[in-house]
Symmetry: C2
Subunit: 346 residues, 2 copies
DNA sequence: AATCATTACCAAAGCGCTTTGGATTTTCCA
DNA sequence: TGGAAAATCCAAAGCGCTTTGGTAATGATT
C-alpha cells in the first residue's frame, strides 16, 4: 500500500493525504482523522527511501566500527553504547546504520556515507590523540559527535565524554588516603585519548600528594582479562611490588583478581584494586554490593546522550559544536582497604 | 555531484552513464572507461536512496536487538556477531541497520521495516522455543535467517546454528571419563533455544553413561558473572557438592572460578569446569593455553556465515530455506582434571 | 454587493536514479 | 552495394514521496 493507492481509496489527492499524515495545517481536521484512520487500517507507512529522496534527509545516523588489523578486537563497550544510542534514535524515528570497516578505510567510508546520502550524521567512536577523522568529517561537512575527545585537535567539534582525568585522580588519591604509596596503573592503549587522560589523572594525583610514580608500575595495552592477569602477576613478583592497582577496565580487573588469587592474596585485605566500570549490562560489578571499588559511568547512558546531541545538532544546524562532560562516580566496593604494609596509622 | 551533472560534464545522457557504471553491455568500452574515470575524478557515487527507489532493493539488512523489560541486558555476543556479519555486508555492498526495541514491539518493528522498505531481509537473534517472530516474518514475506534454531517451529525456515546439544553431550562425557559423577549445569535461561539444547545434551550424556542427573545441580538464569558465582557457591556448600561444572558462558565461568577460590579450591585439581566459549574478541579464553577447558565456536564467524546465507537467499529467492549446523570444538584447558574424590583408577 | 482573507483541497514538478522502448549509426555479408 | 544485424546512444517514464503554486469555495468585511 502506497500513497497513491491510499489516496484513491480515500477519494483524495496524494497531496492532501501526505499533508494530513505529516500534520500540516491546511487540511480539515475531519479529513485528517479519516486519513489517519485509513492509514492504520491499511497498515500504510510511507516508504523511507522515497521520503528521504524527496526531503533530502536520510533519517539515519551512522556508526562506523573499525577493526584494526593488528589487534582486531571489537570494543566491548560498543554493544551497550549502541543500545543506548538506539533508544534515542527509535524515539526520534531515526534508523541506525553500522559499517564495519578496516581502520585505514575509515575516511573513505565517511566520504561514502556522505556522497551516497546514507546518513545525516555519524558518531565517532574511540578517538585517539589528534584523531584524523575529525578534520576529515569537517571537510566533508557531515555532522558528527565524538564519544570521547581527541587531545590536540584545535578546531572546535562536538563531543560527549566522561571526565577520565578527574576519575583517575580521585581514585588514586583515595588509595593514597588508604596509605598506599606504590600504586600500579594497568591502563588501556595510550594512543587512545581516554587512556592518556587516565594516566594524566593518575600522575596528577601523585604530584598533588607529593608521591613519585614509579614507571615500572605503569603498563598500557589492550584491555583483556589476560592482560590484567599477566601484568599484575609480573608486578606482584617485583622486589618492591605495588600494594594497589588502578585498572582501566572490568575485564582486566578480573584478570588482576585472578593473579592475586594465584599468589594467595585477598583483594581488599592484602591488595587493593580500583577499576573503571562502564556499567556494561553483561558485566555487572557485583549484584548488591560492588565487587570492585570502581569509578563508574554508564556507557549506555552516554550512548543515549550522544545520540540526542547529534539529533539536536541535525535539527538545528545553527547551534554549532556542543560539548558535554560527565563525571564518573566513585563506588566503594570490596576490593580496597588500608595498605597492610603501612606502619601504624597516620 | 549527481548523475545528471556527471552526464552533462561528459556530454552523455544519464542513461548511458548509468549503464556504463553498472556494467551493462550496450555501451562502448571506450566511453565506459571515460565515464569510470570521470566518476572517480568527480568523486561521484550514486545516491543510495534514489537507487533503491528505482530498483526496489534497499541494499540493507536489518538486525533487531530487543531488550526485554525484565532483564534488559544487551546480549554480550551481539557485538562480535555484528562484526562478523558486517564484514560480509561490506563485501557485498550492503548496509546494516540496527533497531533497538522492546521485545514486545519486535513484531511491529518487522512490519515497519518491511512496509517502510528499509531493508531487504533480517537476521533473527536469540531464538526461543516456538519463537513467535518466525511466523510473523513468514506472513509478511521478509527474507530472514535465524541465528540459532527455534524448537517446535513446524514450517521450514533458514537458520545457522551451533550443535549445542552435541557440544554439551561431549563435554559431559569428557567429565564422566575423568571419573566425575556429580556434574553441575550452570545454564542460560531455558526459554532460549540454545539453553534447551544444551540441557538436552547434558542429560543425554547422563543417560548414555548410565548416570542419574541430580536436579539440584541444575540452574538456569541470565549468564552473568554474579550468577556463576552465586550458583557455584551455593552448590559447593551442599552436603554432596558437585565435582565438576558445565557452564554456558565464559562470564559465568569466571564467576564459578571466583566461587571456587572463595572456598580455597583450585580449578583443574580440586574442581573441574568446562565452559562454552563464543570466542569473543574481548574475552579470550587465555592467551596461549586456554584457561578453561571449553566448547568453542566463533560467534563472529557465525555472523559472517549467517549474513552470507541471507544475502544468497536474497540474490536467489528461488533456493528456499537454507540450514547450516556448525560443530563446536572441545578445547582442553587448565580447568579440568580427574575427579580427586573418585577412589582409585577405573 | 463587491472585495478580501481564509479554508480546504489539488495538479504537477522534482528528488536522483534505473530501465523501457526507441533512434541512429556502424558493421557485416550476400 | 543494398539490407539486415549489431553496436551505441538517448528521451522519457517511473520508483513513492514532498512541496510549490495554484484553484475553488466559504466566511468576514466594508
Amino acid at each position: 500500500m502506497n500513497l497513491k493507492q491510499l489516496s484513491t481509496a480515500l477519494g483524495l489527492s496524494p497531496t492532501t493525504v501526505s499533508r494530513a499524515l505529516n500534520g500540516y495545517p491546511e487540511v480539515n481536521e475531519e479529513t485528517r482523522l479519516r486519513v489517519a484512520e485509513a492509514a492504520v487500517r491499511h497498515n500504510y507507512r510511507p516508504n523511507t527511501r522515497a521520503k528521504s529522496l524527496a526531503t533530502g534527509r536520510a533519517m539515519a545516523i551512522g556508526h562506523v566500527i573499525s577493526l584494526s588489523n593488528k589487534h582486531e578486537m571489537v570494543n566491548p563497550i560498543f554493544a551497550d553504547f549502541i543500545a543506548g544510542a538506539g533508544e534515542s534514535y527509535a524515539r526520534a524515528g531515526y534508523d541506525m546504520v553500522i559499517s564495519v570497516v578496516n581502520d585505514q578505510d575509515e575516511g573513505r567510508v565517511y566520504r561514502e556515507l556522505k556522497s551516497k546520502g546514507t546518513v545525516d550524521g555519524v558518531i565517532v567512536h574511540a578517538p585517539e590523540a589528534n584523531d584524523a577523522r575529525i578534520p576529515v568529517l569537517h571537510s566533508i561537512g557531515l555532522p558528527f559527535v565524538v564519544h570521547g575527545r581527541a587531545t590536540g585537535t584545535s578546531t572546535p567539534y562536538s563531543w560527549l565524554d566522561v571526565n577520565n582525568r578527574s576519575a583517575f585522580q580521585r581514585a588514586t588519591e583515595f588509595l593514597v588516603d588508604l596509605n598506599h604509596a606504590r600504586i600500579a596503573l594497568i591502563n588501556g592503549l595510550e594512543h587512545m585519548d581516554f587512556a592518556i587522560r587516565r594516566r594524566t589523572g593518575y600522575l596528577d594525583a601523585h604530584t598533588a600528594r607529593g608521591l613519585a610514580a614509579d614507571p615500572a608500575l605503569r603498563v598500557s595495552e589492550e584491555m583483556t582479562e589476560g592482560y590484567g592477569h599477566r601484568a599484575a602477576r609480573a608486578m606482584l613478583q617485583l622486589p618492591m611490588p605495588p600494594t594497589a592497582f588502578l585498572v582501566s577496565s572490568m575485564n582486566s580487573a578480573i584478570g588482576v583478581r585472578r593473579a592475586a588469587e594465584d599468589l594467595g592474596l585477598k583483594l581488599g585485605r592484602d591488595l587493593s584494586v580500583i577499576t573503571y566500570d562502564d556499567d556494561l549490562s553483561y558485566l555487572r560489578n557485583g549484584e548488591d554490593v560492588p565487587i570492585f571499588t570502581a569509578a563508574r559511568s554508564s556507557v549506555r547512558e552516554a550512548g543515549r546522550l550522544a545520540a540526542e546531541m547529534l539529533l539536536s545538532m541535525i535539527a538545528n544546524p545553527e547551534i554549532g559544536p556542543q560539548q558535554r562532560l560527565l563525571e564518573a562516580e566513585l563506588m566503594l566496593g570490596l576490593s580496597t582497604g588500608r595498605n597492610p604494609q603501612a606502619s601504624g596509622l597516620r
